[in-house]
């Protein structure tokens, strides 16, 4: 994976959205979205359903009206321009090919509408189809293509236009798992042709992690966090982001004056500054392991064992009386699995625990 580019010089951005306000549905819509995509960079927008991910892409493409803000593509302000003048190609979730044209004619479409003719067009079509490994498919009728091939032709068509920005709406979600790899590599290959910035929307965090250099979390009408996948998955900046990611466990705690937090797991040192008062203690299941019972260390009772295909985890009852909670602890491959009812010690990885004021 290429290096992430969090810092961009203004001229370097393939796509820059500044304080975009987009109305949609009955709610407030997108109220303040700012985001930058560098040349050759892939940024994934994730967020709960109905938050406006698709609307955001459509607004950038000029297909949905905006109320305020700016859209810059390749350094040019396109906010007031028509879709065809924006230099940003929008691809729908399921590929939309023109069924009255052949594969080659589909790929040539963006060139034809710009008045290009002759060998030059053939050359560009050949290159674009080559990028998605469909060189020999030019004369084929669209209806003879498989689902994955349709996606690849749609990608070839969009890069034939050489837009500064590619807007991909759920590019993988309509596909079988076996086709996802095919299309995922086609997206990367297509983008490597000439390094457009790609903004892709997905509801699948795994897809986002596999494809994107950076992930932007869209929550409540704005971008809550933008970070490379590893950073986002390890250190969400807010409780809302952590809750959205869905990989964290949460328990109530109370921060004292000395920066220590009391919770069912005992007294923990807060990794970051938290104001005094109630906090949410947030951690991934793999931040908690079981070990032998030791005096002074938190203890727990095993309530259930959860067997999954790839991992096993234990549901633990920690703490006492009012200050107790249930947590899930991952059992590492080869690690000891305790029986239900056993008393175990709890080992906490302090780096895996986050605290947010509530």
């Amino acid at each position: 994976m290429r290096q992430s580019r969090t810092e961009l010089r203004p001229g370097e951005a393939a796509l820059a959205i500044e304080r975009l306000v987009v109305p949609f549905g009955a709610g407030p819509g997108l109220t303040d979205v700012s985001l930058t995509v560098g040349k050759g960079e892939r940024v994934a927008v994730v967020g709960p359903s109905g938050v406006g991910k698709t609307t955001l892409l459509r607004a950038i493409a000029g297909l949905a009206p905006i109320t305020a803000g700016r859209v810059r593509v390749g350094g040019r302000d396109v906010t007031a321009l028509k879709p065809e003048e924006r230099d940003a190609v929008y691809l729908h979730q399921s590929p939309v090919l023109f069924s009255h044209l052949t594969v080659a004619e589909n790929v040539a479409f963006p060139l034809r509408v710009r008045g290009r003719r002759g060998r030059d067009v053939q050359q560009r079509v050949h290159e674009a189809l080559g990028a998605v490994r469909l060189e020999s498919f030019g004369p084929r009728a669209v209806r003879t293509l498989s689902g994955g091939q349709r996606h690849r032709v749609a990608l070839a068509r969009s890069i034939a236009a050489r837009p500064a920005a590619l807007l991909l709406d759920e590019p993988l979600s309509a596909l079988d798992p076996s086709l996802r790899d095919e299309v995922r590599s086609a997206i990367v290959a297509a983008q490597n042709e000439y390094e457009p910035g790609a903004l892709l929307v997905t509801h699948d965090l795994d897809d986002a992690g596999l494809l994107a250099d950076r992930i932007a979390v869209l929550l409540d009408g704005g971008i809550a966090q933008v970070a490379p996948p590893a950073e986002l998955f390890a250190r969400p900046q807010s409780l809302a982001v952590a809750r959205f990611l869905g990989i964290f466990q949460e328990m109530e705690g109370c921060a004292g004056e000395d920066g220590e937090v009391a919770c069912a797991l005992g007294i923990l040192a807060a990794g970051q500054r938290v104001p005094q008062g109630p906090v949410a203690v947030v951690f991934r299941p793999d931040a908690i392991r079981i070990g032998p019972v030791r005096p002074g260390a938190p203890a727990a009772r095993v309530v259930a064992v959860r067997q999954r295909v790839r991992s096993t985890s234990l549901v633990l009852h920690v703490g006492e009386n009012a200050n107790s909670a249930r947590v899930e602890a991952t059992v590492l491959p080869g690690g000891a699995v305790a029986a239900v009812g056993a008393e175990v010690g709890v080992v906490i990885d302090p780096d895996g625990v986050l605290m947010f004021p509530t």
Binding site: V89, F98, P110, V113
Partner: protein, 272 residues
């Protein structure tokens, strides 16, 4: 469950029922056409004979000589013009209606339905007033206008259905690929709509081709279309000639049916 019980529960009617239904279909659809064919070639057909006494193609040969020829030209010209103009008007109307939601859509569809549902005499009377006011009463232009009105209503409803199902994503994608609105229309929308447009043209043609009351009222009898000529022949008791005229009236409808059948077979939409 026994086989007999299964059969009783079946929704497929029994043999006798099917034979009866087929007989009814033949009597109401094919028999009149058969009668017309016989009449058109009968040299003399007197009660109580079951078939004409002698056969003659005289009436068919007479087509070229009589008023039927000019009536065919008038009808064809009116029907082609109606098909093209009504289609061109109804397409954007249907598209606009399909974009409406809630009560606006219902009102719009009802407005389009009004000229379709109105009795032609009532509609014709209203249109005649307008045609006279515009100075085109009793002219082919006035009749064309009168034919276009119900055709636009009908085709607007037809295109409302088409555009309700039409996938606008192709247009959106074409725009972001660099096509202007006009290029998108000519290079994407129209080619994708080729089939419904051809169907709409056929329907528009037939609406004008079969029009009688509107032609008579607005044209004041001065614009002689095929239906008017056939009616005149029927009234004059010219059995053979009127049968020939009636069969000529049927030709476009049969051609449209055959064309539709051919087109659906090609796209594998029709049952085998």
């Amino acid at each position: 469950m026994t086989a007999r019980a299964l059969q009783r529960r079946s929704t497929v009617p029994g043999l006798a029922t099917r034979a009866a239904l087929a007989a009814i279909l033949v009597v109401v659809t094919l028999a009149p056409v058969g009668m017309l064919l016989l009449w058109s070639v009968s040299g003399g057909w007197l009660f109580p004979s079951l078939l004409p006494g002698q056969l003659t193609s005289e009436a068919w040969h007479a087509i070229g000589a009589g008023a039927l020829t000019s009536a065919i030209y008038t009808s064809a010209a009116l029907a082609i013009a109606t098909a093209v103009i009504a289609c061109a008007l109804a397409l954007p109307i249907g598209r606009a209606l399909a974009r409406l939601r809630g009560w606006r859509r219902h009102v719009g569809a009802a407005a389009a339905f009004l000229p379709v549902a109105s009795p032609p005499l009532a509609l014709g009377t209203g249109l005649q007033v307008m045609a006279l006011a515009a100075g085109v009463g009793g002219t082919a232009i006035g009749v064309l206008f009168a034919h276009i009105v119900p055709a636009v209503g009908y085709l607007a409803l037809f295109f409302l259905g088409t555009f309700t199902l039409f996938d606008t994503r192709a247009e959106a994608e074409a725009r972001t690929l660099g096509a202007t609105a006009a290029q998108t229309w000519w290079r994407v929308t129209l080619p994708l709509l080729r089939r419904p447009i051809v169907e709409a043209m056929a329907v528009g043609f037939l609406i004008s081709w079969t029009q009688f009351a509107l032609t008579l009222v607005v044209g004041g009898g001065a614009v002689r279309t095929l239906p008017l000529e056939v009616f005149a022949l029927v009234r004059a008791g010219e059995d053979r000639a009127s049968a020939v005229g009636a069969l000529l009236l049927l030709v476009p409808a049969l051609a449209a049916l055959a064309g539709l059948r051919w087109a659906t077979r090609r796209t594998a939409l029709a049952p085998a």
